[in-house]
Amino acid sequence: MKRRLKFLVAAITAVLPFSAFAQDGAGSVRLGVEIPASIVNVPMFMTIDRLKEKGVEVSIVEFQSPETMTLALRNGEVDFIGTSAGTTFSAIDAGLEGKAFLGMAMSDFLMVAKKDLTTCQSLDGKNVGVQSREGTTGVLTIRWLEAECPDARPNVLIVPGSENRVAGLIAGQLDASPIDSQNTAQLMALKPGEFTTIESFSKAGVLASLYFASNRWLEEQAPTVKVLVEEYNAVVNDITKDRSEFARRTKELLPDTDPEIVQAVVDGYVDRKVLVPVSGVQPDVIEDALEFYGSARPYAKIKTAEDVATTEFVTGREGQ
């Protein structure tokens, strides 16, 4: 009997530390990323490497669509996700109890068109492809058309996936489409002289994407979130001072793209201050984004910036 008791105590003693670690979950974080990953994800990948050195493991879970990724966040299958501001706001408006805690990027879309279409008015009667009517590309395009050429009547087609829109442009099925700077550069390199950019939507100053988590996780893992945000902000600040590591990592991510083109995209990102870890969650930027995305469909539950974002974790200033 004594031997059995001793064995039981020894077994419990051996198992306890592991179970405590499993319950705590500290030091282990799961990030949801939409594939294919692009330049906008690179600063987070750099942050993950630095956090590893500090003992914080961040594993990456890949998703095909922002909607499935958001549902995975709701079900607790990932801890935080990097996704578009429109998706984040829609999810919160639909009842997901979460908040954006770190800014990601401002819009860097360009209206790319066939070379002979050089003005907004020239798109009259042409096929213009957008991701969705309520998403960033759809709202940017519709607002731009209304402001710049209200008489033009292009056929606005819903073509999900930027790669499908690029394929549509190459095949001549689309005449114009808003495409991010990375894909635009790749398209221009693939078909030199065949396409032109009519408009840069980065001028619109609209928040495009951010990092988003459930309220519960933000509360329970506040110290880890603080470390993550601080490190990410440090990475972005380092990129501002020296873009070489950012360029190297982006070139690694896009091995099939001409390194010179990647460098140009990286330069554009840094010079135009596309990355906005701190300002991306500030109330004024969020209010503007809510007004922008809500113009296609007003939100039912979201009233203020505080309903969708928190500045609790961001400290310091970006680009310092």
Binding site: E67, T87, A91, G95, R133, E163, Q173
Partner: protein, 260 residues
């Protein structure tokens, strides 16, 4: 005597109503369970049965669902019609001539085993962003089962029946229309039904992954809003369409095979 009559009446009642009551009872249990596990506190949560029905009603009243349904079914109609027009003669040729069967069969097997979703961007590249691509996708999804079933039906015609028709000096045309096709008809219809089901799947996949129009577009639209009630209502509409058109096909088959 009275007992025997009572027993007989009870058996009649069971035979008459049980086949109807059992499925209805199961359906009621499923709906009750669905209603119980659903959560209407947030639109992102699993919708209850009642919320799904309400979303369905709202989509109908707003006109969104009927319009999307109509747009989607244009592709289904043309794609399926094209599949029937190509697959039935192809299946007859495969069933009648070993050379044709050996030649075509590997390609049909490729179409069966290949995840067709992977070739959608290529189809879009070839056929464009319009209706044509969606028609082609429906055609590809539907053709295989119709052709293979027709082939099996033709090959199952008894040899002695064919020999008899030849001994009565029936022409090849007469053999085909008087012997082969009537015998192969149930298999062809089974293939047509399967093809129709696959065609509906193809119709939706094409809209979800290529240019959005019709039901696929509506589904994407409500998915981006995380309105799960509407998403489920649209998905159930597709299921309902499949069930209705396949039931109709079965009735057509029964009417055509009924002896005079």
């Amino acid at each position: 005597m009275a007992t025997a009559s009572g027993f007989s009446q009870s058996t009649d009642w069971k035979a008459r109503y049980l086949p109807l009551l059992l499925p209805l009872g199961l359906l009621a249990v499923i709906i009750a369970a669905w209603q119980a596990i659903g959560d209407d506190s947030a639109s992102i949560a699993l919708p209850t049965f009642m919320r799904t029905v309400r979303s369905f009603y709202e989509l109908i009243v707003s006109g969104e669902l009927p319009l999307a349904f109509f747009r989607s079914n244009i592709a289904l109609f043309w794609g399926y019609l094209l599949a029937l027009a190509v697959a039935i003669p192809l299946g007859i040729a495969m069933g009648s001539a070993d050379t044709v069967r050996k030649l075509v069969n590997p390609y049909l097997m490729i179409l069966i085993s290949m995840p067709l979703i992977t070739v959608l961007p290529i189809l879009q590249l070839i056929f464009g962003l319009g209706l044509m691509t969606r028609v082609v996708v429906v055609f590809i999804f539907a053709i295989v089962y119709i052709a293979l079933n027709t082939c099996v039906g033709v090959r199952s015609v008894p040899v002695d029946l064919q020999e008899m028709s030849r001994s009565f000096c029936a022409s090849r045309r007469q053999q085909l229309f008087k012997v082969v096709l009537p015998h192969a008809f149930p298999a062809i219809m089974a293939g047509a039904r399967l093809g129709l089901g696959r065609g509906i799947v193809g119709m939706v996949i094409a809209e979800l992954f290529l240019m959005s129009e019709g039901l696929g577009s509506l589904l994407s639209f409500y998915m981006t809003r995380f309105d799960t009630g509407a998403v489920l209502a649209i998905a159930l509409t597709m299921v309902l369409e499949g069930v209705v058109v396949i039931s109709l096909a079965r009735r057509v088959e029964a009417a055509l095979t009924r002896r005079p």
